[in-house]
Amino acid sequence: MCGIAGGNHPGWHYEKAIASILHRGPDGKNVETYQGTTFAFCRLAVQDLSVHAMQPMSSPDNLVHIIYNGEIYGYQKLKDDLKNKYQFRTSSDTEVILYAYLEYGKEFIDKIDGIFAMAIYDERVRKVYLFRDRIGVKPLYYYYKDGKFAFASELKALTEMLDDSALEIDTMALYDYLFYQYVPEPKSLYKHIRKLRPAARLIFDTQEKRIIEADRYWNLFVNASVGRKRKREDVAEELRGLIRQTVEEQLIADVPVGTFLSGGVDSSVITYVTKRLKPEVNAFTIGFQEAQFDESARADAFCRQQHISLTQQILSSKDVRQIRNDLSKWYDEPFADVSAYPTYMLSRLARTNCTVVLTGDGGDELFGGYAHYKTVASFGNKPEKEKVYQQYAKPASSVEDYRIRWNIPKDYDPYWHFDQYYKEELPVFTRMRYMDLMTYLPESVLTKVDRASMAVSLEARVPFLARRIVEFAFSLSQEEYLSDNELKGCLKDAYKGRIPDEILYGIKMGFSVPDHYFWRERHECNMNAGILKAQWSHLEKAR
C-alpha cells in the first residue's frame, strides 16, 4: 500500500503533504512536477521491492505518469496481452496499469480488479484522471475550488498541502455525522474537499482548470427475485471455488502475508482457505479481558484444530485508554466506530510479523450476516424508513442543540444519504445488504480498517470484496443466500464440515468493544455526540 497526493497549484506544500502520510508508505517518497501538475508518492514495498517499481512511474516517452495506492489482482492475463507491444521493466502491477491505460485509454479500468486509488496525468491531452476501486477499499479525497485542484489518500495530506484559507468547516457535514457515525460521502469535514465515491472516475482538465467528468464506471446488478432457482449445493460449490481463486490471487506478495482472525465465520473462512494455499500462514487475533466480548478462545481452538500458528493479545480498558484520543489523528474528521481501537491494536500485532494481511471484511454485507436485518424484517415489508435508519445510530438528544448552533435549516433531512440507496423494490434482506454495501461498508467498516492498518504501515486485503464475489453474491435471490433463513446461509453451506459448527453457527461478536471502556463518551447517550465532544470539541463552536 502507499500514499498519494497531488495538485495543480505551484504554491502548495506537496512535500509536507506526502510527509504527513508517510505511515502509508515508509519505504520511500518522491515528488515530481509535470507541466505544472505535481504528483507526490510514498511507498510501502509489497510487490517488486526494487527501486525500478518506485513511483511516479512514467511511460517510455515520458508523457504519461501514474501514482497509485493499492493492489490489482489476477492481472497476469492482461500483462500477457500487453507484452507483445510493451517492454516491461518491473514485475509490479503499477506498470501493468500504466500500459493498460496507454493501450485502452480510460476504459482500461474495466479490465482490472483490486483495491486502489490512483491518479494518472496524461500530458498529451493535459488531463488528470482519478480512479477509486469498485467498493471503496482505498480512500481518495479531492479539493476543487476556483480552478485549483488537489487530491490525496488522506484528509490530513490535503490540510497540510493547502493554505488554511481553503479549509472551511462544513457544519452541515458535521450535523450529518451525528446521524451516521462518519461524515457521509461525498462530503468531508471541509466544504470544498470531497471523497471520491467508490467505482468513480474523475477527469480534471488542466488547461481549462475544471472537472469535466465525475461518474461511476461500474454498476452492480442486484437480484430482487424471491425463491430458490439454484440448488443449495451448486451455490455452495461455486462460492467455494470463487473464494479459493480469489484468496490465491491475493496471496501474491514479495513480503510475509498473514490473516486477521476474529473467531467469527468470515475471518475463519479466509484463514481456512489461506491455510490450504499457504500452509505456513500466521493468524492474528485480539481478545478482551471481559469474557462476554472475547472470541479469542474460539479462534485459538480453531487454529489448534487446523494447525495454524496464532498470535494473540488480550486487551484491557487500560490498553484502549492509552490510545483513546488517537481516533482524530487516524481519521482526520469525526468518526465514531470504536472497533477502530482493537483493529489498530490487531494491526500493530500483525505488523510485527507481516506486511500484508487478509481479512474477512465484507462477508456480512455480501451474504446477509447482520442480526439487525432480522429486526428490520420484523417491521414488515415496508417499514417507516426512519425506524430502519435508526438501527445504525439513534441521534443523541443533543442533536437539536447542534442544529440550532450550526444554523441547519429545520426542514433539512439528514437521512439523504441512506435515502439514495434504500430501495423498497428489493426484498427486505437484499434491501439492507445493498444499502450497507453502498454506505456502511465503505464509509465505516473499510474506512476503519484502512486507517487503522495503514497507521502501522500494514496492508489489509479483503478477498470477499473481489468483483467476482460481489457480483456473484448480489446475483443470488434472498432464499439462495439465506439457506433455511440462516444469516449468511450460503457461506455456511459452503464450509459446513470444513469449519467447526461452533464457529459457523455460534453467536457473532467480531471485534466489539466492551461498553464501559467508553463511559465518558457514553455520557452523551450516543457515541457519535460523545466522540465529537471528547475529541473534536473545537468543532462544536464551528459556524
Partner: protein, 124 residues
C-alpha cells in the same frame, strides 16, 4: 443467425457514433419527439450504454425491462414484463434483433409506444 445479430449490432453502434460526430444525442432525439420518461428494454451492453447516455439528461429512465431478471441496476428498478409496469412515454428496445417479438409481447402490457433503438438512431 449469430452473424446477423452481430452485423445488426455493428451497424447500430456505427450509426450511434455517426450521430455523436454530428453532435446529436439520444436524449435530444427523444425529447424532440415529446418523450420525457422511458423504460429501456434489455440490460445487455447496449442497454447499459443507453442508460449511461441518458444519465442526468432531459429524459428520465423510470425503470428497465429484462427478459430474465428482476432487481436494480445503477439504482434503477429492473422489471420483468409480467410485473406491474409504471406508465412511461415510451419503451425503447435495445435488443434490436428481437424487436418484433418484444413489441408483440409488450403490446397488451403497456399503453405507450414500443420503439426500437434502431428507429431512434436512424431518425436522428
Amino acid at each position: 443467425m449469430k452473424v446477423n445479430k452481430f452485423e445488426m449490432l455493428f451497424n447500430l453502434v456505427e450509426r450511434w457514433l455517426t450521430l455523436h460526430e454530428e453532435g446529436k444525442t439520444i436524449p435530444q432525439i427523444l425529447a424532440g419527439r415529446g418523450i420525457h420518461t422511458i423504460s429501456i428494454y434489455g440490460l445487455g451492453k447496449i442497454g447499459k450504454h443507453m442508460l449511461w447516455e441518458l444519465r442526468d439528461r432531459e429524459v428520465t429512465v423510470l425503470y428497465m425491462l429484462d427478459r430474465a431478471r428482476t432487481g436494480i441496476y445503477d439504482g434503477i428498478p429492473v422489471k420483468k414484463a409480467e410485473e406491474e409496469l409504471p406508465e412511461v412515454d415510451a419503451v425503447i428496445v435495445t435488443a434490436v434483433y428481437e424487436y418484433d417479438e418484444i413489441e408483440k409481447m409488450l403490446a397488451d402490457r403497456v399503453s405507450c409506444p414500443v420503439i426500437s433503438l434502431e428507429e431512434i438512431l436512424y431518425e436522428g
